[in-house]
């Protein structure tokens, strides 16, 4: 199981409203939106037509000016940028438009170079870089073809090569696979996944193509100008897989498991850190996703190790159930990635799931 290094926030949207038109025709398209996308994440945006997806995407892409609220790209505030600064900011972003809008008069290579010319890449490198990028999208044999001699899918891949050739740290795509067949679509998505994983790019995709949902780290759903749900798919699946290995959660239905997983937050601890301390009051339940930790129980001055927990191990439930102080200390032996569930959520899950409660009671009895 991969445990990605913590990434910085690439896109930070806070309290963003947006209005179109003026006077009588003034119409609000976005309402107080909040969204954070970390580097290396792929976020898929869905929602009914007219819900504001494109508006949000164009605001993040510096194609529209921020009217209210704040959008930061790697820390740089977009609100209040001058037109020239906006143009400069756009160079940091890879755009994949629904209509590819390649220059008809230029070959595939020349089209890709049109973007390269905006980077600091020395001109002598341009051909090589453009060719390598086209190679990567499977068009190494079409370098000197003009768009009219390429298939729809091939054109879209040239556009994607153009968007990615400068290795942007942010990629914004609108229906990138709409014009593609199953296989080309899968290739494009794999390419975006690689860009996110290898170069830590933050990728936002507006799509209705549910064939590509699997690639996403998160799915953001918008309705009527608001982000109504933000599901961390990959993380949730990761947590469910861990929970599934724990004795306590083994019997839970997948949907209940998903509910629990979505309420859990990731926490990281360096080697040697105390995750919980004996005698403190208990606020959270812990599941270890990666790394090993040691359970120590203090008795008459000495603190002998009573157990070693690895991936899939869990602890902290006793204090929550009995409303007692922690009865042991847990120390990370190596860097530990854990998912935590707050006390209220933990108890809530218990109440709705009878067998779960029984299991826990049995567990408590067993651990005594």
């Amino acid at each position: 199981m991969s445990s990605p290094v913590p990434r910085e926030t690439a896109i930070a949207v806070a309290d963003v409203d947006h209005h179109y038109g003026a006077g009588e025709a003034r119409k609000q398209a976005l309402f107080g939106n909040r969204l954070d996308v970390r580097a290396g994440e792929i976020v898929i945006m869905t929602g009914p037509s007219g819900s504001g997806k494109t508006t949000l995407l164009t605001l993040i892409g510096t194609l529209r000016s921020v009217q209210a609220g704040s959008i930061r790209l790697f820390g740089t505030e977009l609100a209040g940028l001058s037109p020239a600064e906006q143009v400069r900011m756009r160079r940091q972003i890879g755009f994949i438009f629904q209509a590819h809008n390649l220059l008809e008069a230029l070959t595939a290579r020349q089209n890709v170079k049109l973007a390269l010319e905006l980077s600091d890449t020395p001109p002598a490198e341009h051909d090589r870089r453009a060719d390598a990028m086209l190679e990567a999208v499977g068009l190494g044999h079409r370098l000197h073809y003009k768009p009219r001699h390429l298939s729809v899918g091939q054109r879209q891949r040239v556009a994607i090569a153009r968007a990615l050739v400068n290795r942007p740290r942010i990629v914004l795509a609108d229906e990138p696979t709409a014009a593609l067949d199953q296989e080309s679509g899968a290739n494009v998505v794999a390419l975006l996944r690689r860009l996110a994983d290898d170069q830590g790019a933050a990728v936002m995709i507006v799509t209705h193509d549910n064939r590509i949902l699997g690639v996403a780290d998160r799915i953001v759903n918008m309705v009527d100008g608001r982000v109504v749900s933000d599901i961390r798919i990959r993380e949730t699946m990761l947590i469910c897989a861990i929970l599934k290995q724990c004795d306590v959660f083994k019997e839970m239905s997948p949907s209940d498991l998903t509910d629990v997983a979505q309420k859990m937050a990731e926490e990281r601890f360096p080697a040697g850190a105390a995750i919980i301390r004996q005698g403190e009051s208990g606020e959270k339940f812990y599941v270890i996703a990666a790394g090993r930790a040691e359970v120590r129980r203090t008795a008459e001055g000495s603190a002998p190790a009573v157990a070693i927990l690895g991936a899939g191990g869990f602890f902290g439930e006793v204090a929550l159930l009995r409303d007692q102080p922690r009865n042991a200390t847990v120390v990370a032996l190596e860097p530990v990635v854990a998912y935590t569930l707050a006390k209220a959520d933990f108890l809530g899950a218990l109440r709705t799931h009878k067998s779960f409660e029984d299991q826990i009671s049995a567990q408590l009895f067993h651990r005594g």
Partner: protein, 379 residues
């Protein structure tokens, strides 16, 4: 990324559709040919109008104060010329006689209006080399030199041809070159003695007094002395001023100059409209592509460079094609009208500047559309 990149891109965009590009260049060339024609006529008329004035080799020229141009026929008395001769600094002051009259075509007898020039054979103060060669022959009675470049209607004339000039028999003893203009179909050159034998010609009706200065004399000083000596009775000009006067009267006061000057403007306006139409279509077809370039971070200046480069390429292509057309047209018109139709480098340059100007103006207008595109509309 320098202007070269924008120029290459503009070229590729135009060359991508060769058929359309050729059509566009033809459109621009059409406007260029119109401008060439108008400029050709304008220059042809002015060049021709000063054909005589251009040959004057006098240091100063005295004329009647009311003479507006050489063909106005306002003359002055020979007596005044004698007084000019007495002014210190004047080495010679000789009359030049002009008279409009009819020449009979030796073949069919048809009458044609010509300008007859009477010159002092010993000191003509004219840049007409043929005059010296035929000086002695011109001393014979009823002799004349005939303008080789006169209009064809005047007939086939060679040394020895006999015909009628102003109702008197005349014998052509040689040819010289001047060319017709809008007022006269041709010119004939006579010695003073022969000129004064023509009907109604008196020695006292001098059209121009040609003045040669003594060596070292200052033209301005002498000009002032002549004015002081004969206040209000003579105007004193230089040869260049006489030529300028002729040119001005044709281009500004005479309707022909205004007509063709306006024609030039109309050609420019037509060209601008044609060019705008071409560029507007070109830009409209590529609008999403321009928007895309904006979206990925190309500066407005870069896009402007592309559109203006397209305009320049069109003007260059149109100019070359129009130049070829204009050259052919000039040859044709010169043959037909015998007007001077010189396609000189500066004139071709003027047309290029006008062509580039009209295309850039059109490009500037078409650019508005590019500037108005919103890259946000691409999503």
């Amino acid at each position: 990324m320098g202007p070269a990149a924008q120029f290459i891109l503009a070229w590729r965009m135009l060359a991508d559709r060769p058929g359309r590009f050729l059509l566009s260049v033809t459109g621009v060339a059409f406007a260029v040919v119109i401008m060439f024609t108008q400029l050709g006529f304008l220059n042809g008329i002015t060049d021709s109008s000063i054909n005589l004035a251009d040959r004057l080799r006098a240091d100063l020229v005295v004329v009647h104060p009311q003479q507006e141009h050489l063909k106005s026929g306002v003359e002055f008395s020979h007596f005044l010329l004698q007084q000019v001769r007495d002014v210190p600094g004047v080495a010679a002051a000789l009359p030049l006689y002009l008279s409009a009259n009819y020449w009979a075509n030796p073949q069919d007898g048809g009458r044609n209006r010509v300008l007859i020039i009477g010159v002092d054979l010993d000191d003509p103060m004219l840049d007409l080399p043929e005059l010296a060669a035929h000086r002695d022959a011109l001393r014979g009675p009823d002799t004349a030199l005939f303008d080789r470049r006169a209009r064809a209607e005047l007939g086939a004339v060679a040394p020895g041809t006999r015909s009628t000039l102003a109702g008197r028999p005349v014998r052509v003893v040689g040819l010289f070159e001047l060319g017709p203009n809008f007022a006269y179909e041709g010119h004939l050159l006579l010695g003073t003695a022969n000129f004064l034998r023509l009907p109604r010609q008196r020695p006292d009706d001098v059209d121009l007094g040609l003045v040669r200065l003594a060596p070292g004399a200052d033209p301005e000083t002498v000009r002032q002395r002549i004015r002081d000596r004969l206040p209000g009775r003579l105007d004193v000009l230089t040869s260049a001023e006489v030529a300028r006067r002729e040119r001005d009267i044709t281009t500004r006061k005479a309707p022909v100059g205004i007509v063709f000057g306006l024609g030039l403007l109309v050609g420019f306006a037509i060209g601008t409209v044609v060019c705008y139409q071409i560029l507007f279509n070109e830009v409209s077809d590529h609008l999403p592509q321009f928007a895309m370039m904006k979206a990925i971070g190309h500066r407005p200046r870069f896009l402007a460079g592309i559109v203006l480069s397209e305009a320049l390429i069109l003007s260059g292509g149109g100019w070359v094609a129009g130049l070829a057309g204009g050259w052919g047209l000039y040859a044709f018109l010169e043959d037909r009208t015998a007007l001077l139709m010189d396609l000189t480098a500066p004139r071709a340059g003027v047309i290029f500047v006008l062509t580039a100007g009209m295309c850039l103006l059109a490009g500037r207008l078409a650019l508005k559309k590019v500037q108005a595109t919103d890259p946000a509309d691409l999503f």
